[in-house]
């Protein structure tokens, strides 16, 4: 088990090292998120939505910004391996599950960075007040994990296809719709201070994330090897 974790971490560390040297995915994610956030902040702002609608509508806008930013950059992890012709040696050197876990960790780190920057900024710019901060952080973590799981497997599927730039959001979005709904419900509940509703949403997100992780881990060797 330790050896497996060490090998998976080697894949993630390699990706993080190359990413911090080139900043391709980070730029895509960060620039998309920042420009969308600024556009939302200027066009909607903190005062154009009535107090009654704020918890829900601001949750919708927050997750739309996060989802589309993620779709703009999280496919790079596999696409880059194929485009730079490093994928064949990786296939011959590491087991498929090690590659899957390493790429998942890499996408989780990118998403964690994105969420750490965008969410506080969004809350300040939009005046979004969260009542249950602890539950909100747990929801962000569970949502980020599930988003990373789906992005990783879809990125692997599209990486060997032609027209992959357009394929990623087209394939990922239907898989992410349920997650988007649960996260919006959960975030609304954290803003309203409704513990029961947060609990239900959190359970749904964690269940979805767990199921997606199991299916992805089983599917990945087939996608990666053929």
């Amino acid at each position: 088990m330790w050896r497996w974790l060490s090998e998976a971490w080697a894949v993630a560390a390699k990706d993080l090292r190359t990413e911090f040297r080139t900043r391709v995915a980070l730029s895509s994610l960060g620039l998309f998120a920042l420009t969308t956030l600024i556009a939302v902040a200027y066009s909607v702002g903190p005062f154009r939505i009535s107090a009654e609608d704020r918890p829900f509508l601001l949750a919708v806008l927050l997750w739309i910004v996060v989802f589309f930013a993620a779709l703009a950059g999280l496919d790079r992890t596999f696409v880059k391996e194929e485009e730079s012709h490093t994928a064949p040696l990786l296939r011959l050197s590491a087991s498929p599950h090690v590659v899957w876990a390493g790429k998942l960790v890499f996408n989780m780190v990118l998403l964690a960075l994105l969420l750490a920057v965008i969410v506080p900024l969004y809350c300040v710019l939009m005046g979004y007040r969260i009542e249950l901060v602890g539950a909100f952080v747990v929801l962000l973590a569970a949502g980020g994990f599930t988003l990373a799981v789906v992005s990783t497997i879809v990125a692997a599927i599209i990486s060997r296809a032609q027209g992959r730039g357009a394929l990623f959001p087209v394939l990922a979005l239907p898989l992410l719709l349920a997650l988007l709904v649960f996260l919006i419900q959960g975030t609304t509940a954290t803003a309203e201070g409704s513990v029961e509703a947060v609990d239900a949403s959190l359970r749904a997100v964690v269940s979805l994330g767990g199921a997606m992780a199991v299916v992805s881990a089983m599917l990945f060797p087939l996608v990666w090897n053929d």
């Binding site: 090998e7 040696l89 296939r91 011959l92």
Partner: protein, 210 residues
């Protein structure tokens, strides 16, 4: 020699959509042998090597890895025993030579990784202390690094696709010595080449036609 891996392939064909690359190719390479795959450009030498090392599935035919006792190695286990040098396989340009080898050593779970990585780099004539990223390497240096990567885990089977390309005369001389030493040590070597000198290393030959 007794511990080596014999590769046997028969009736192997490959087609991409309607384009036939080759039909019904057969051959074998035993431990201590060099199988030279020859043929003009576009005849499918690299494709055959990709099939033999498990990166591609043949449209028809079969490939078997046989251990000394005759038992067959499962396809999923092939990669642990292979070292591959091929023009279509690149190393990570954003890492330096030592970082590249460290990565491959770690994902292969090698013990004594640091010493092995440094040793392999020195063997192919690259300086382990040099921090230049691979993006700044010449094509010859990249080829040397690919060879270092292929020998890192001391594989029992070597697939070498145009291994001497981009190497200077010294490098070619070193390469010949290395391949012949591997052959003498019982490694199974499969070589795709059009170079007359490299063809001479072959103890068996498979000739492909366009």
């Amino acid at each position: 020699m007794a511990d080596g891996i014999r590769i046997v392939f028969s009736d192997v064909a490959k087609r991409f959509d309607e384009r036939v690359i080759f039909r019904s190719v057969a051959g074998e390479a035993a431990p201590g042998e060099v199988l030279a795959v020859t043929g003009p450009n576009g005849s499918g030498k690299s494709t055959l090597l990709a099939i033999l090392c498990g990166l591609l599935r043949p449209t028809k035919g079969s490939v078997h890895y046989l251990l000394a006792g005759g038992q067959e190695l499962e396809r999923a286990a092939w990669r642990q025993h292979l070292g591959v040098v091929a023009p279509a396989m690149s190393l990570y340009e954003e890492l330096d030579a030592l970082e590249n080898l460290r990565f491959f050593a770690r994902v292969r779970g090698l013990e004594d990784a640091e010493a092995r990585c440094r040793g392999c780099l020195e063997l192919v004539g690259l300086d382990p202390a040099r921090r230049t990223l691979v993006a700044g390497f010449s094509t010859g240096m990249r080829q040397r690094l690919k060879i270092a990567q292929a020998m890192l885990h001391r594989p029992q089977v070597l697939f070498l696709d145009e291994p001497g390309s981009n190497l200077d005369p010294d490098g070619r001389g070193w390469l010949e010595g290395w391949v012949l030493a591997e052959q003498a040590a019982g490694t199974t070597v499969v070589l795709a080449t059009n170079d007359a000198r490299e063809m001479e290393w072959g103890t068996r030959r498979v000739a492909l036609a366009v």
